[in-house]
Amino acid sequence: MENMNNDVLKISGLSAWFGSNQVLRNIAMNIGRNTVTSIMGPSGCGKSTFIRCINRMHDLTPGFRLSGSLVYEGTDIYGERVDPVALRRKIGMVFQQPNPFPRMSIFENVAVGLKLNGMKMPKSELAGRVEKSLRMAALWNEAKDHLSRPGTSLSGGQQQRLCIARALAVEPGILLMDEPCSALDPVSTGKIEELIEDLGEKYTIVVVTHNMQQAARISDFVAFFLMGDLIELDRSAKIFTNPSDKRTEEYITGRFG
């Protein structure tokens, strides 16, 4: 926000529809490099739709329509020449439910991202990339002696960190997370949150969360969405101590609705 040139993602006039139902209205916001931004709001406010727009996850959804502009590092995300698969290498996504590939080992689960993206490399280099990704996802120490075990043998929280490692392996420019902790217990949630804070120093992260305290803990910026509108975007400390909009205040103090 302070330095406009350091914005990785610039969004303006973004509106989206499922059929005749408009779910996003004229959203304008920029995402700064190496920041963690939480997208917060009540159910149905459009927050998941919003982050899915960022890596074109709605492309195949029947009846989905979008207008406005999303520009990632100078490239129009919805430009005609943009290959969605190549785009998703740059803009990775971690989902609510940990979804490691069931028949693959821990090692393969991380390496597969590289392979699927056609990134051929010698075995030793591949092993190095896998280790680096697992370290960044804070899973290396727990998994290094069991790399050949199935990814699904890990606990839920470990599986989610494995999915984060898989996303990180291809070195994305932005990491999108759609409620990454909502299926996890508090201890695993704590680990993922710590991880997000650490990763925020090197990565640009956009997290959708239902959990206000989580947004307050992990993010530099918070965007509050309500019924398809972006109500307020500001530094987390400002949003949670002195928000500018009355609707944000009502939401964070639990007096909503």
């Binding site: 307050a216 101590t241 103090t253 639990g254 007096r255």
Partner: protein, 222 residues
């Protein structure tokens, strides 16, 4: 909505506790100064029991605030309200301490002949009392403008304190036997000045609570 309703009720109850404490502190100051000015020893009797109540509320308010922070994770206006309540709590306890301080000095002064009729000290007490009342009203009503005008009155009290000191200095210079009594009165005026300072702190906390704006340490207000 039940949880939200309980939360609102808890916030309301907290506000009531702060007000009760403020009322007690106010009464303590009033009784101490009136006892001194009117040479009425009986008025001091209630001060000590009120101090016990204030001390009890001091602990209880902090407990309630901490519990709300831990259990409700307040944000926005609620967070600022709870933070203000904790700080106001401390200031009210100190005001009560100063009232006890005045009461002790009044006890001593009432045991000896009066040095002079008291004019400026009751005047100071009146302003300090009005400031405290306004500060508490501003807290209840979330009235930042009232808080702002109340802060401005602190200068009057400071000015009177200097005046009291200058006047008593002339007594002490002309007759050294007046020194013990004059010193007690100077310390009473000092206590009243501190009370006005604490009322000012309360007002600053109210402005933060309402506006989210920190006005402390910014020199005289425009």
């Amino acid at each position: 909505m039940t949880a939200a309703r309980h939360y609102s009720e808890a916030l309301g109850a907290l506000k009531e506790m702060v007000l009760r404490m403020g009322g007690l502190a106010e009464q303590m100051v009033h009784n101490s100064v009136t006892a001194l000015a009117e040479r009425n020893l009986e008025m001091l009797a209630g001060v000590r029991p009120m101090e016990n109540q204030v001390n009890k509320l001091h602990v209880e308010i902090d407990e309630v605030c901490l519990e709300m922070i831990a259990l409700r994770q307040p944000a926005g206006g609620d967070l600022r309200f709870i933070a203000a309540a904790m700080k106001i709590n401390t200031d009210l306890e100190r005001i009560a301490d100063q009232a006890v301080n005045i009461a002790r000095r009044a006890e001593m002064l009432l045991a000896v002949p009066s040095l002079k009729p008291l004019i400026d000290i009751p005047h100071m007490a009146r302003i300090a009392d009005e400031m405290l009342k306004s500060a508490l009203d501003a807290f209840v009503d979330g009235d930042d403008e009232l808080a702002m005008t109340t802060i401005a009155r602190d200068d009057e009290v400071d000015h009177l304190k200097d005046q009291v000191f200058r006047e008593l200095l002339t007594y002490m210079m002309s007759d050294p036997t007046t020194i013990p009594r004059a010193m007690e009165l100077i310390l009473v005026s000092r206590a009243l000045e501190r009370i006005a300072d604490h009322a000012t702190n309360v007002c600053e906390d109210v402005i933060f609570m309402v506006k989210g704006k920190d006005v402390r340490h910014q020199g005289p207000l425009a």
